[in-house]
Amino acid sequence: MGDYRIIEVKQSVFADNNADAALLREELTADGTFLINLMSSPGAGKTTTLKRTIAALADTVRMGVMEADIDGEVDAAAIEAAGAKAIQIHTGGMCHLDADMTRQGIREFGTKDLDLVVLENVGNLVCPAEFDTGAMRNVMILSVPEGDDKPLKYPLMFRNCQLVLVNKCDVLPVFDDFDCARVEERIHFRNPDCKVIFLSAKTGEGFDEWIEILRTWITEFKQGQMTPPVHYDI
């Protein structure tokens, strides 16, 4: 018999991330910085949506964007060109951002003078949904060409979002099998409380509603009236 002993640990691995996320939320609340976790598939229009959002908020909201990608810095360059503070995080091959990586990025960024930070998560509908990043609101972009069946295929993503932006509505006449009523119904099947906005980052259609929600959220957050989202692991 070997000369060894057993240490009982009984710790959930996800619990570690949940604790990191809670800590980051606390710090950001003290700083007065509202963090949004923006998720979507690759190519759904996260960066284009952000560029238009930056332009719409430029006069009243001090905004920063954290770009998370496996490699490259094209997104950060595009955001800086649009007029917001940007930082690029490389996940080094990982498919999602966890709370600790988000916190490191935020600390490097320095959020004291920012009202709003948007974390542009890795383009992926699976893994980013599983990890609480410490954001106060999770927003997902679903673009019309991806199809209206996505809420059926990626349940957790839709469950963990408080808002879905249905983007690229300008191409609805071409993708005429995409049914707006059906997609809304399917999103609410996964998450009855989820808000849905139809918009186009290209034409600006529907943007007023999205900007209005952002402004309301920032105000609620700054007044301490916002409750953190419930995070589902499965």
Partner: protein, 114 residues
Amino acid sequence: MHELGVVFSVVRQVETVCMENAVTKVNKVVLELGEVSTVIPAYLVDCWQWAIKRTQILQETELEIRMIDAVTYCEDCEKEYPTVKHGKICPYCGSEKTYLLCGNEFIIKELEVE
């Protein structure tokens, strides 16, 4: 890659426990993994082998994975059934008012140390 991220978390948590207990060598880490935890055991082991080479005290540490069956409960007929086989819809009464009882665990159960 998803498993890589969770392996980093496991390594970090195990290192913390070792530090708190003044442990210098770990023979084995025992994980409990639910059937529907979204983590694939074979990939987890591959990532583990890669990640431990970058640590001080876990270089030789074996990873043992104990699987936990997923069980779902039906609120309408109050029966339990295996999740993987039947999914969200109750095989007895067809209800969708069901919830997972267990099977999404990802727990560091214990460490075998010298």
